[in-house]
Amino acid sequence: MELVISITIGVLGGSGLWLLLRPRTFQVIIGLSLISYAVNLFIFSMGRLRVGAPPVLLHPSVPGDLEHYTDPLPQALVLTAIVISFAMTALFLVVMLAARGLSGSDHVDSAERGP
């Protein structure tokens, strides 16, 4: 499972980075989204990958330690990170459309370069 998660994060992050460096604003926004998915998975995996371990306390008879539960904190962090990156992507989308409307070009520099 570790291998699958690592490859997923790597592919998402790599393709996101490549798109981030492209000249069109649409490519940039998709790149940013992919990178944020990669980062969210990464944060999630920092709580150690476990199968079948719940993040919330179940029953008083089960001791409340990491032997029986998965670490809930990274999951809470991911939730915050998802909300924030979603909001920022929405904001960026608006700015991107405004730039497209004002300059008539979807180039990141608001103007085509070269011939």
Partner: protein, 544 residues
């Protein structure tokens, strides 16, 4: 808990409620919104002064004060910490906020919608970032202040602003993902994000985890250096700041200092905790990056054609100087760097406001003309000048000219104002630390910094004087700027504070030394946070 203990959270709550209230009212009652904004900013200033006064108490147990939200113990809950450094930054932010608001009230706050709420949320994000005691909340407050700053950078709209903001947003979003990667690596290895708890856990890490932890810290450091606009990461700054509306740009002057603040804070805790073995943000690198930033900005200043960009590059000089100074280390250098930070932030903000006043009434065509004049126009000007002999400089230009002169002196660090004292303190510490007292030789790094600081001062003089001559001493056809009293008083307020910094340099410097000394130790901070009892963790006594 006394009332001053609860005051610690006020710098976050006041702008939050004020901003929220404005959003409810906006569109219908502009006057009410304006009044709320004024009241909230003044309240922030009062709270900041009260907190600063409280932090100056002699009793060491009282200088670092901790506020546990919901009374959870520090390692579980959210914790706010107000020590001298944090309250100093709060006061700086609140002072700058007052001056900027004064300026904006004259006309800018009507240039678009939602100036006041964005302004309050930016203050909230800044205050929160200065007060927070754990890394993830730092991320949240960073996002709050960045979200508000995107709005303010776009404020007033226009093609230049939108296109500059596009770059600004992308770069900061990318930096935020780096921030998250760093934070999660630190959590994955150390198991906590509370700064004080981190300080205790670092020595206990085993070597393989230690390596991963340091990688995480390095990634985090890169994210902070993007915010501080250090050399290879700061190319976005001048364009954005020059394009932003004047009040927004002036407020942004303190934003680069957040990155600097966090580097200082986290660096102080981890260095102390590991007994100096693991410098979290490697000091050699910080120094090199700082010097490179100053060098780049000093050259770019000479090359910049319009005053907005000039002001943007002066932000870079200021952040480069502070980075290089703390990179060298030592209590003396840190305290001088703090003094420089306060003085230069106020100066740069005043300069941004002033530039807008001077450039007002100027169309883009004029800018093109100015550039052509620069390149070809020496002869034309002389011919014109003969006809204009005897025309006095209009009064308003004279007033602006004096303010401009003061800004130039402050930026370049020439006597008699606080810019000089700041640079003098830096250089005297540089020499004193290694040379005058120890009888040794100033290290190579010391010489480099000395040289770079002096040369950057020289290029600032050249660049600012050239811009000033072009603006005030050439007779162009353009109409005089319409300047309101409020706007002038905002600039005057900032310059007056710089004068106070100069006159009261002794006591202020002593305060900075105490602050730097507190940082040097690091231990009191960790101790104060960990000593807070909080409520006992919830026992599992619920029925199944």
């Amino acid at each position: 808990m006394t009332i001053t203990d609860h005051l610690i959270i006020a710098p976050i709550l006041i702008p939050l409620f004020a901003g929220g209230l404005m959003l409810v009212l906006d569109g219908r009652r502009r006057e009410v919104v304006t009044i709320i904004s004024i009241l909230s900013t003044l309240a922030l200033l009062t709270v900041a002064i009260a907190l600063l006064m409280a932090s100056m108490e002699e009793d060491p147990a009282r200088t670092v004060r901790v506020y546990l939200l919901g009374n959870w113990p520090a390692s579980f809950g959210i914790v706010l910490v107000a020590d001298r450094l944090a309250t100093l930054m709060l006061l700086l932010t609140a002072t700058l906020g007052c001056a900027v608001l004064l300026f904006a009230l004259a006309s800018w706050h009507r240039a678009g919608s939602y100036f006041h709420p964005l302004f309050q949320f930016l203050l909230m994000g800044l205050n929160g970032a200065f007060l927070t005691g754990d890394l993830f909340n730092l991320f949240v407050f960073f996002e709050v202040l960045l979200a508000a700053s995107y709005g303010l950078a776009l404020y007033g709209s226009g093609r230049a602003r939108v296109s500059a903001s596009l770059h600004y947003i992308v770069i900061n979003l990318a930096a935020s993902t780096l921030f998250l990667v760093g934070v999660s690596l630190i959590y994955g290895t150390a198991g906590t994000l509370n700064m004080a708890a981190l300080g205790e856990r670092i020595p206990a890490l085993d070597p393989s985890e230690r390596r991963l932890f340091e990688i995480g810290a390095a990634i985090l450091g890169v994210a902070f250096l993007v915010k501080a606009a250090a050399w290879p990461l700061g190319f976005w700054l001048p364009t954005v700041y020059a394009a932003a509306s004047a009040p927004a740009a002036a407020l942004f002057a303190v934003m680069t200092k957040v990155g600097f603040y966090v580097i200082l804070r986290v660096g102080s805790i981890t260095t102390e905790a590991s007994g100096g073995a693991s410098m979290l943000f490697g000091e050699g690198w910080l120094f090199a990056i700082g010097v490179a930033t100053i060098g780049f900005a000093a050259i770019a200043m000479l090359a910049s054609q319009d005053m907005g960009r000039l002001a943007g590059y002066s932000v870079l000089v200021s952040s480069g100087t502070t980075l290089a100074a703390i990179g060298l280390g030592g209590t003396g250098m840190t305290s001088a760097a703090l003094y420089y930070l306060v003085s230069s932030t106020l100066t740069v903000a005043a300069f941004f406001l002033l530039v807008e006043l001077v450039e007002r009434g100027r169309t883009p065509a004029d800018d093109v003309l100015a550039v052509t004049l620069e390149a070809y126009g020496a002869e034309e000007e002389e011919a014109e000048e003969e006809e204009e002999v005897g025309v006095a400089i209009p009064a308003i230009l004279a007033v602006l000219g004096i303010a401009f002169l003061a800004c130039a002196l402050l930026l370049a660090g020439l006597p008699p104002l606080s810019g000089f004292i700041a640079k003098f303190a830096l250089i005297s510490n540089l020499l004193g630390q290694h040379w005058l007292t120890g009888g040794g030789i100033v290290s190579v790094q010391g010489w480099i910094l000395l040289f770079v600081i002096i040369v950057s001062g020289l290029t600032t003089v050249v660049a600012v004087t050239r811009a000033g001559m072009r603006t005030f001493w050439t007779f162009t056809e353009r109409e005089l700027p319409h300047v309101r009293g409020l706007e002038l008083s905002a600039v005057a307020l900032l310059l007056f504070i710089c004068v106070v910094l100069t006159v009261q340099a002794g006591p202020i410097m002593r305060f900075m030394q105490l602050t730097a000394h507190g940082l040097e130790l690091g231990r009191p901070y960790i101790g104060a946070v960990q000593a807070q009892p909080g409520a006992a963790p919830l026992k599992q006594e619920r029925a199944p």
